[in-house]
Amino acid sequence: MNPYIPNTEQDVASMLATIGVSSIEDLFVDIAPRHAPVSFDLPPGLSEYEVMRRFTALAGKNSQGLVPFIGGGYYDHYVPAACPALISRGEFFTAYTPYQPECSQGTLQALFEFQSMICTLTGMDVANASLYEGGTALYEAMMMAIRITGRRRVVIDGGVSPIYRKIIKSYTHNLDFEFVESPVAHGQADVAALSRLIDQSTAAVILQNPNFFGAIDDHAAIADLAHSAGALLIESVYPISLGLLKTPGAMGADIVTGEGQSLGLPLSFGGPYLGFIAARRKYIRQLPGRIVGQTIDTEGRRCFVNTLQAREQHIRREKATSNICTNVALCAVQAAIFMSLIGKNGLVRMAQLNLDKAEFARQEIGRIPGVEVKRSAPVFNEFAVCLPKDAGDVAEAMIAHGFAAGFPLGRYYPGMERYLLVAVTEKRSREEIEAYARALKTVLES
């Protein structure tokens, strides 16, 4: 039975009479008997509380209460209660793409605010209203650079998330693009190697800051290298770090993307997340996806609309800048609410807390005999440690002590099997960090 269908038997009879058929089945006349399902073997429906009971049981099969020191681009930051409370308002939650601006100013203005916040955060001129997630956003940025330059060679730094690099490779596998990967030296982008790889056929250089190993850098010199060859610099960034770190705009980046999960979204086993993209103003016509612009109504009042729609698939079809239609508007609004709550000084303080706690954890972990903490590059809130044992085995053993201890780098970087990537957000207390170090010592001694 379907509890969401309001038609009564009487309604149905009256509607069928209006239509002039005798049964609902008569309306399916175009679906011939030969089209009937070979099978449609699904169980009967359940009541709401029966479904809830099933999901409570399923949730119980997931590990709960592990103290997370795992990041890899996705972080356990605090989400203020006002965030989910506001976005679950039905007016945001159950609206659709703001095709009719007069009855969509709420979503449109919130997205304009989001775009503006992404611009001030990254030091860029223009931003769109969201892409699916950080990985697909980086792919869109790369395609944008290819369109702008008319070139087909892309240089990617080895410090860019290996997950993102896999996505980009899948998408372009059948297309005529050339990818060159530049290895990481001492945890940071290798400027000498990059300068050898960037040439007159290069469309873009793709970097990440902080990179996958947590190392931070100033990429201004690489921006100059790219620009002197006529290539663009694309930076993938971690928004919370921009509370403190030099902006990609100040480094000379042309396109900036990133994963916005840290801006008030739950980890939720991988999604929905928030891809964002920002760029120099001159490239706005090559941006993918929805862009909200300011204008006035017939009475001169400020208002907001989807603009530059001639770039988009519903107008341009196969000539569009991207195929994207539905994006993650609600996640963008959630991020805008988060950034409003945390505020100008709050973001700086939050970033400083991350920095301090990570440094404390680095010191505590560094004291454990046999553990080597890499200090060749400064880090923000994540860092690699070299263990005397296989990091995968250690992380597994740490679960028994109640910790998601980090991400073993050998998973994506062959040869780094003894390296563990440890993330420490503002949520980790001194007690948790000390207990983590004690547990790690115990595991390594056993």
Partner: protein, 487 residues
């Protein structure tokens, strides 16, 4: 309304952060630091709550308004699914946990949700296997076309183009083009379905496949679909089913049985997950046996001991199409909805979706031109061409509806019909709501005869009147902090 930035007061805070409890104050060399903080708002929590509450009140939504937006399936989004997605065991789960050694043990509940969701979708669509990775309908399309390309490459087929009917969503040609194919468009015939003779003319061995929405955006189910499948398969083409309109056929027929090799499903349409003002959605992709080897990794598998695991070992896979396992928070809502409805409930869904659309078709066809005057499926396509002759266009009728607190239908789409007005009531709306809508539509028609010029100043009751879209595009201002830039 003021922007949130305009409410800033220096040093005001919306969220308190604790004093650091670690005995370390770290600092970074200045060359790594930004010179000034990001100009985020400086507002109190109440400022934020009031601002975004007031903004929300400027929106129409399914929760507050009838929203018959054709091809978008704006049905009611059951509230209990929000509680399911928000359970701590799901919402706090880190996506890299299962990638630890033996890590699948820690996420068995989540993997079971994914596995079972795939099984349900396989049975509903008649497909061999599903991937939940694609994050929206268009993302599913791109994934599907990549699967097509991988299939042809593996077989050594030399394919150049994809055939798409002229009534298709714009995402179809955009997705196919991004995957490297040329597009060949086929017109619709007098009945509103793809012209099969025209299809035969363009169907050469270089055709990689055909992308179809069924029922199409004219609201018509192509009864010769099996014949079309045979024709496309005869040139070793792939049949792609765009599931945007799956709501119409739930339990009535299955794309797999009709000869489709790959389908995408919009969970935010058929399976009642919220649209969120433009996402997040989810666009799972199902395949027949011949495309299964190419599915993206990871894939969720059930082991012989009944536990679940992620398997990456598929040598022919197209690889990763998203960072993780799909929009988990959306998939779990759709799964909860499917469990609640069961097979019978899903079949009732299509019955009442189609009944409601035909009721509106019958009630409105005297006043509005029906380009395809026949039984429709879950949506009915009108044209405001008669009203347009009086100077009242589809957009004017849309604004008239807005003043009556009804979200307008989809207008000016599909592109095949002038002054298109595409109405999809969905199964969750009552006869009384639809009767109210009909009254307003008939009133708009009457007014178009008496006083057509009165439409131009509509809407009048909303927070804004019609915006100047030309100015928005010419004097691009997309960022509060930077001035307008003449385009």
């Amino acid at each position: 309304m003021d922007l949130i930035f305009e409410q800033s007061v220096t040093s005001r805070q919306g969220f308190g952060l604790p004093i650091s409890d670690v005995p370390v104050k770290a600092s970074l060399p200045s060359r790594y630091l930004r010179e000034t903080p990001a100009d985020l708002p400086e507002v109190s929590e109440l400022d934020v709550v009031r601002h975004y509450t007031r903004l929300s009140q400027l929106n129409f939504s399914v929760d507050a308004n009838f929203y018959p937006l054709g091809s978008c399936t704006m049905k009611y989004n059951p509230r209990f699914t929000e509680r399911v997605a928000g359970m701590p065991g799901f919402s706090d789960l880190h996506p890299l946990l299962p990638q630890l050694k033996g890590g699948e043990r820690y996420v068995q509940g989540a993997l079971e949700v994914l596995f079972e969701s795939e099984r349900w979708l396989c049975e509903i669509a008649g497909m061999k296997a599903f991937t939940l990775q694609p994050l929206a309908g268009a993302h599913g399309e791109l994934t599907g076309v990549m699967l097509m390309a991988a299939y042809h490459k593996a077989k050594g087929n030399r394919k150049k183009f994809i055939i798409i009917p002229d009534s298709a969503h714009g995402t179809n040609p955009a997705s196919a083009a991004i995957a490297g194919y040329d597009i060949v468009s086929v017109p619709s015939d007098r009945n509103g379905v793809m012209d099969i003779e025209k299809l035969a003319e363009v169907l050469t061995p270089e055709c990689a496949g055909l992308m179809m929405t069924s029922p199409d955006t004219h609201g018509v189910f192509n009864s010769r679909i099996d014949e079309i499948s045979r024709m496309v398969h005869a040139v070793d083409g792939i049949m792609y089913y765009d599931g945007a309109n799956l709501n119409a056929i739930l339990g009535r027929c299955r794309p797999g049985d009709l000869g489709f090799d790959v389908v995408h499903i919009n969970l935010h349409k058929t399976f009642a997950t919220p649209h969120g003002g433009g996402g997040p959605g989810a666009g799972p992709v199902g395949v027949s046996a011949r495309l299964e080897p190419f599915l993206p990794v990871s894939r969720v598998v059930r082991c012989s001991d009944g536990t679940y695991a992620l398997n990456y070992n598929y040598p022919d896979s197209i690889g990763y199409v998203a960072s993780f396992y799909g929009a988990f928070g959306i998939v779990i809502r759709a799964y909860a909805y499917m469990l609640m409805l069961g097979g019978d409930g899903l079949k009732q869904t299509s019955a009442h979706a189609v009944l409601n659309a035909n009721y509106l078709r019958s009630r409105l066809k005297e006043a509005y031109y029906l380009p395809f005057d026949r039984v429709c499926m879950h949506e009915c396509l009108f044209s405001a061409s008669r009203q347009a002759q009086r100077g009242v266009h589809a957009i004017d009728i849309a604004k008239f509806l807005i003043d009556r607190k009804i979200h307008p239908p989809t207008v000016y789409f599909p592109l095949t019909v002038k002054e298109a007005v595409m109405i999809e009531p969905t199964e969750t709306e009552s006869k009384a709501t639809m009767d109210g809508f009909v009254d307003v539509m008939l009133e708009a028609d009457r007014l178009s005869r008496i006083d057509p010029s009165s439409f131009k100043s509509l809407p009048r009751t909303m927070p804004i009147s019609r915006p100047d879209e030309v100015k928005a595009a010419r004097e691009l201002k997309v960022n509060y902090f930077s001035g307008e830039s003449k385009a």
